[in-house]
């Protein structure tokens, strides 16, 4: 068995500033860290600490990895200070992944906001690698303002695929910023989508409040509880169900999640907090 405490050193070969608070690190691990899209890794900054992140690159790429990180606390602040050439550590991968085989032949709806786009980019790029397996892919992406919109330059490339629709919106346009796409809450974009909800999956990731209202709106549209996939964010310390910080009732967000269907966890407490 893999030793859960083994740390694989990885070199940062590029950093990309996505928004004032969000950066993508491109990592070259000393040995490949193969993962399934939706799973997460623990990223260590030596001497500072460790935090969980979901890779944002396709799982078909095993020898390097993108990780998109929002500056929001002690560890992430130091990670934002890291430069190309620095060494970080990786543990994992941990947890559940998106069940791609269940998505085959379906019309997929992906709904994401803010830094929640990170795991969804991984899912999206993984799906694009085999896009003929899926009937259609609709990706709705939200950001607070045009400045906060991440993966800006990749949209043109993504929109080139035949069965792919990529729609994005911002909540507001502050003075001095430009935007020629939708201006609304990302959940409002659901009105633009014409997918038969009965048997099709919807995948949601974003800030807790967006996940909550996104899920409720999807249910209103007619999506089934077992077809709504949520990527839950809790305090995953160890990554393997030992430390208990991320328990949600009988579930561990790290081991049984982070990908849950809504019907699995709907009765647990404080899932959106």
């Amino acid at each position: 068995m893999q030793n859960m405490y083994e740390v694989i050193p990885a070199t940062i070969y590029e950093t990309v500033k996505e928004s004032p608070l969000i950066k993508t690190l491109r990592l070259q691990p000393e040995k490949p860290v193969p993962f399934k899209t939706g799973q997460f890794i623990e990223l260590t900054l030596p001497g500072i600490g460790e935090a969980p992140f979901t890779p944002s690159s396709s799982h078909f790429i095993a020898d390097n990895m993108d990780v998109t990180i929002m500056k929001t606390g002690y560890v992430t602040e130091h990670i934002h200070g890291a430069k190309a050439g620095d060494t970080v550590g990786l543990r994992g991968p941990f947890g559940s992944h998106y069940p791609l085989h269940q998505f085959e032949g379906k019309d997929l709806l992906i709904l994401g906001g803010g830094c929640g786009l990170a795991p969804l980019r991984s899912l999206f790029l993984t799906l694009l690698d085999e896009s003929d397996k899926y009937n259609s892919i609709t990706f709705l992406a939200g950001a607070k303002t045009p400045k906060d919109c991440i993966y800006k330059d990749e949209a043109t490339q993504w929109r080139k695929h035949d069965n792919v629709q990529f729609i994005r919106s911002v909540d507001e346009i502050p003075p001095g910023q430009e935007w020629d796409e939708d201006v609304c809450l990302v959940t409002k974009l659901l009105d633009k989508v014409d997918i038969e909800p009965t048997d099709n999956p919807a995948i949601v990731c974003g800030p807790p409040v967006m996940m909550k209202f996104g899920t409720l709106d999807l249910l209103k549209c007619g999506y089934k509880e077992h077809n709504i996939y949520l990527s839950m964010e809790k305090k995953m310390y160890c990554g393997c169900g030992e430390c208990r910080h991320c328990v949600m009732g009988p579930y561990f967000a790290c081991k049984d999640g982070p990908v849950f269907t809504y019907d699995q966890i709907k009765n647990e407490e404080a899932i959106w907090d």
């Binding site: 068995m1 030793n3 859960m4 405490y5 083994e6 740390v7 050193p9 260590t44 900054l45 030596p46 001497g47 500072i48 600490g49 460790e50 935090a51 929001t72 606390g73 560890v75 992430t76 060494t87 550590g89 807790p208 964010e233 809790k234 305090k235 310390y237 160890c238 393997c240 169900g241 030992e242 430390c243 208990r244 910080h245 991320c246 328990v247 949600m248 009732g249 009988p250 081991k255 407490e269 404080a270 907090d273």
Partner: protein
Amino acid sequence: MIIKKEDLFNFFATLTETHANPPQEIIIPAHSQWRTDDQRNFKIFKPTGADDNFTLDGYRPIFPLKNLFYITREALSTKTYEGPERIIAGVKACDLKALQLLDKALINEDFVDPSYKFWRQKTILIASDCTEVGNTCHCILVDGKPYAEQGYDINLSPLQDDTYLVHIGSDKGQALVDHFRKSYEVRDNSDETQNQVDQNRQQIIEQLQEQNRQYDRTKTYDTLKAARMDVWKQSSAECIGCGACTNICPTCYCLILNDESTDAAMFKKVRSLDSCQLHGYARVAGGASPRPKMEDRFRHRYLCKFLYMQSNFDMLGCTGCGRCSDACAAEIEFREATQKALFNENKPIESN
């Protein structure tokens, strides 16, 4: 088989000389200078060798057995752990049961804690029946008994005349007993000795029943979840959120993993005990927490013990040792708070 207490302690004292692969340590509860409220001495697991007043009898030591397997603060290594065996004697049933839970949590198909596994493999456990009842002891409320039925290598039941009835629970236990018999006389047991043991055990159970008679556990624990928040709020009113209850609990194993690397080429992870009672425990980056209030965290501990661990490991997370009540600075009685939540869930709280 019946052995003399004196022989057993002599055997321990000379084991380093007589055994081909002597144990690295023999750990037995020793009386400390500190006293409980009713003027009994606390007992603490200690390595033999010093002039301490060691005993296999009485009730459980003040610190849980867990501390000897799951070290409170420890640098984790990816190398394999190595070393000779050790013996821990005077282990009580509540602590043994807790080890069963920890085994499920720390050595399973998803995860193995390397140092916990090492100590589990390298330890010979000698259990002994409780001969006294601590003020907070309540194993019988949580499907427990004041004597071990499994999980030991050897079990000792005290008899009259400073002798013990020996039960062997494993090959390791058998080997140690075989070694004992090379130098010491043993007596065969009879129906009469077994009767005496049964009587002693029954006597302790009756003491426990008497001590816990105001607590009713006929309800299923599912109702805990339905208990009104103000029940928890009242029970936790004096709680200062120090985490003593979880640190001293024999089944609590929540950990915090710190990175203490000084050199990027050598990642150093240190694991320490954490506590769900501490404010920052479940807080995520950005500041959100699923349990921001003290009563939320207080309640979480009870739900974890009686519902979540039951669901995770198919056994209760409480073994009835009562240490959490002993350790509580606010003197919150665990049995009392459980009782209130089980039975008062729908009754309005009378204000004091």
